[in-house]
Amino acid sequence: MFAIVRTRREIGLVLACLILWPLAVPAQGAFEDDENCLMCHKYPKMGRVTDDGVFRSYYVMPHVFSRTVHRNVPCRDCHSYIKELPHRPVKVGVQCDSECHSIKNPATGKRFSHKPIYAKYIRSVHGRPKNARGPDRDKPYCVTCHTNPIYNPQEKQLPEHIVKRCVVCHEDRAFVENWYKHTSRRIREVKRDSRQIVQLCANCHGDQRLVQRHLKAARLEGRELGRKYPYAVESYLESFHGKVTHYGFKKAANCVDCHVDQDDYYLNVHFIRPSRDPVSPVSPERKLQTCRRCHKYADENYARLDPHPTSDIQDNPFRHYAEVIYGWVGDIVLVMLIGMALMETIGRWRDGVIWQIRKGSSWWRKSKRDRDRVI
């Protein structure tokens, strides 16, 4: 039975490829597609609707993919479960700790892999298996943050004067271009800026439905969550760091500046731990040391200042009531001042005042009290 269905699916796919052929986007500067995956995946409409009603696109944009960091990796190095074409439905998908068969690490001679980073990530508070179920499904997998970035998106064309110079000795222009892209991306800082980092974290931590889901799950399971977990993003934005970062200021601390151990940043950014873990840079044990990275005169008292201030009564009753009092005082003062001004205007107006001094006086109107300027 399965074989029949499979055969029908295969026939359907091949037919679909043939029908959609005229719609295919021309493969400008395409990567070397030795496995002929683009035969089907070059069609923009290729995809399916999942059981959750979400459209999943399987379209590979050849002209874009050819400029990404993975452009030299053959598809089946990552999609290793594909044994034949048309391939079977994908059940697990690409796991980022797999080893490349084709690319070798030039430093070690071993097959290239993201395993060292993955090993850190899986032990972090965000770590989860590829196809996690339940609350873990909300956690970010590698591709949540890493979207196979394009080499220097701002650099549409390579600088010709540099390429020409390199080609003199290295002869092969394709090699030079690849090498230039590879190195220039790493030499030029392409890390997200502070605002983008906050936005990235806020995608999940600022999603109140997700946050509430996790609070509920933690309550049911008797798990502990951080005190600031319910208001991580809004409280950061309420802080001075958050307010200036919001406007693109680069020197104020963003999320990873405090929550990531900076000793080996590019590795440790994948190893964010909850603040209750002594390993975390924001744990009570290490918080002062983290503050001192920027505030070098910080002391124990300083480390007690709240970098995520909120006026939520559960989190900070002092601030909550202070804000309520401030609000009342402000409203009362305004009402009283406007009231005073109004009374004064009415009282003097009744006595014959005009708005502007004219001809040496502002008392030209007739008074209701029968005592007017002698004209």
Partner: protein, 315 residues
């Protein structure tokens, strides 16, 4: 006019401070006697120059007002879009003042200027007071310091506004409204300086405060800086600008902050006691007032005396 006990005390004290000659004293008494008993008729009938007739502020106070005026508004425009970034007006305003990289430099620089202005003001006030004390001419009632009379003036003024009295009270150089405003501004400035310094030097405040207080202090300062700024802006926009621009008789503006002078009718209406001092200190004012009263036939005629021949009005 028969002066009230309060006004009489002020007049006698001022004449004593100024060592007025018997002739001048007699002249002052004559002018005061000629003033109509109804003060409303007095200030309604004088001639005023819109840019001011009588001295009120020294050049130092005018400079300090200018410094405060410029720094306050610029500080508000550079600070508020950062504090209230989530509002629709914040991003355009922040862009208008050069973006956060520029506006934070402007904000801190002008904060220093504002602090300088505060110190300058304190020196002016203290210096002036010391000088008056040394000359033996210090008059507490003439200062901005609140006295019990202000409460009575407040009550009496509102009785007039509600038509329960036919005269405004005899108020001094600084009336209750100006004293409220002055101390609100002084308190606000202090709050802004302390809270601003807690953003700029958080380590310092954490180090000098006890452990149990440091965190709550910082929270209070975080709340106070934007709230106080907003409150000050509303007070300025709704009240101060009303008083000096929009109040009847003041439109389009009182020029006092530039010229240091107040109009005659305003001085008589809201600062009558200070006007009495002006009559003592400025002989020409006595002449001008007498001319105006004669020209309008408003001279009060004491019983048994005939009215003198009116002289032409000089201005």
């Amino acid at each position: 006019m028969k002066l009230s006990d309060e006004a009489r005390r002020v007049l006698d004290r001022t004449m004593a401070y100024n060592r007025v000659s018997p002739e001048a004293q007699a002249e002052i008494e004559r002018v005061i006697a000629a003033m109509p008993q109804d003060r409303v008729l007095l200030y309604k009938n004088v001639v005023s120059n819109p840019i001011g007739d009588l001295p009120r502020y020294s050049v130092h106070i005018c400079i300090q007002h200018m410094l405060t005026f410029v720094t306050f508004l610029t500080l508000a425009f550079t600070g508020l879009p950062i504090a209230f970034f989530e509002h629709s007006w914040a991003a355009p305003l922040n862009a208008l003042v050069g973006g956060v990289d520029v506006s934070r430099v402007i904000h801190r620089t002008l904060a220093s200027v504002m602090i300088f202005s505060m110190i300058y003001h304190v020196f002016t006030i203290v210096g002036g007071t010391v000088q008056k004390l040394m000359n033996g001419t210090f008059d507490l009632q003439r200062t901005i310091l609140p006295v019990w009379k202000d409460v009575r003036d407040f009550q009496a003024d509102f009785r007039y506004f509600f038509e329960l009295a036919d005269q405004r009270p005899e108020m001094d150089k600084f009336m209750y409204k100006q004293k409220i405003h002055y101390f609100a501004a002084a308190f606000g400035n202090l709050v802004m300086v302390i809270s601003g310094s807690s953003f700029l030097f958080p380590e310092f405040w954490a180090a000098v405060l006890p452990a149990g207080v440091a965190a709550n202090f910082q929270e209070m300062m975080r709340l106070s800086h934007p709230h106080e700024a907003l409150l000050a802006l509303f007070v300025i926009a709704y009240w101060h600008w009303y008083n000096v621009h929009l109040a009847p008789g003041r439109f389009p503006m009182q020029w006092t902050f530039l010229t240091g002078k107040i109009t005659r009718e305003h001085q008589m209406e809201e600062h009558f006691l200070e006007y009495l001092r002006n009559l003592v200190e400025i002989p020409e004012e006595r002449e001008k007032l007498m001319d105006m009263l004669l020209a309008r036939e408003l001279v009060a005629i004491p019983e048994g005396e005939a009215l003198a021949e009116p002289e032409p009005v000089r201005d």
